[in-house]
Symmetry: C2
Subunit: 150 residues, 2 copies
Amino acid sequence: MTHAAEGAALRFADLPSALEELRAAGLRVTAARRLVLEALFAADGPCSAEQLARAIGGDAAATYRNLEALERCGIVRHVHLGHGPGLYALVGEGEREYLHCERCGATRAVDPAELDTVRALVREQYGWQARFSHFPIVGRCPECTRDGDG
Amino acid sequence: MTHAAEGAALRFADLPSALEELRAAGLRVTAARRLVLEALFAADGPCSAEQLARAIGGDAAATYRNLEALERCGIVRHVHLGHGPGLYALVGEGEREYLHCERCGATRAVDPAELDTVRALVREQYGWQARFSHFPIVGRCPECTRDGDG
DNA sequence: ATACTTGCAAATGATTTGCCAGTGT
DNA sequence: ACACTGGCAAATCATTTGCAAGTAT
């Protein structure tokens, strides 16, 4: 066994079950971790580690470590939207994949199933298995596409 | 007028025409710039600014500035392959788009036209105009797809 | 001659690491 | 008790910025 998350990624929808998951993974339930999770539940979208650290009044280094730990046990995941810091979000009811506008920064989160056709096409054509949850599809959103170069 | 690259992006295939292009854009042809371009012509793939700076015995800061200048006049472009530094390449005979393996780091460069079907699909589905030259399609290469989780 | 460039130092932003005091189990 | 954490300082990596001396045109 490696060290955690052997079984299928468990689902969870609230703070208590997330904490339970944490405990189940052999990690301790600390104030800092509870706070990070609360902040993520409260957030409406992915947050940077820095943001979360500030929000909970903890330091960034520990927050990075905690996010990494939470990620190892499948509670959290992060995405890189263009330049800028990694953004963390709860896994909650499942994965999300992203489209990111490199002109205005707009981001659209979609259900992975919606991109299966695209994924299949890439796979047929190149044999590569695309995943847009960690690194999104980058380009221009509808508005910026209309605006042309600018 | 903004300041450079007003006309269509000119094509070029060798160092002299790249330098001509530089001059045409109102930039000076300096030793450092000639060396960066030589290094890029010699390279077999995209290089980091750090790499180039070391290769030509110049400092990183100036190299970043030069690459940015070369990029502004359409001679050079850069791509972000997963984590890690931006990688620079000559535009040469045209753009390239990339597929990057987040497991082994393998990268495949392809002609943009090949990805037009994928692009069209994304556009139909979301109205977004995908561009995989600056940020690639990230996922698993054929080998790593076979290997499963590991 | 003048404006553009260079190298060097130092600042920034994102993230990681070492360490020791503090705490969950 | 004891191993796992938290905060703090400091290091690292990628990139940018300020500046004074050097150079292409």
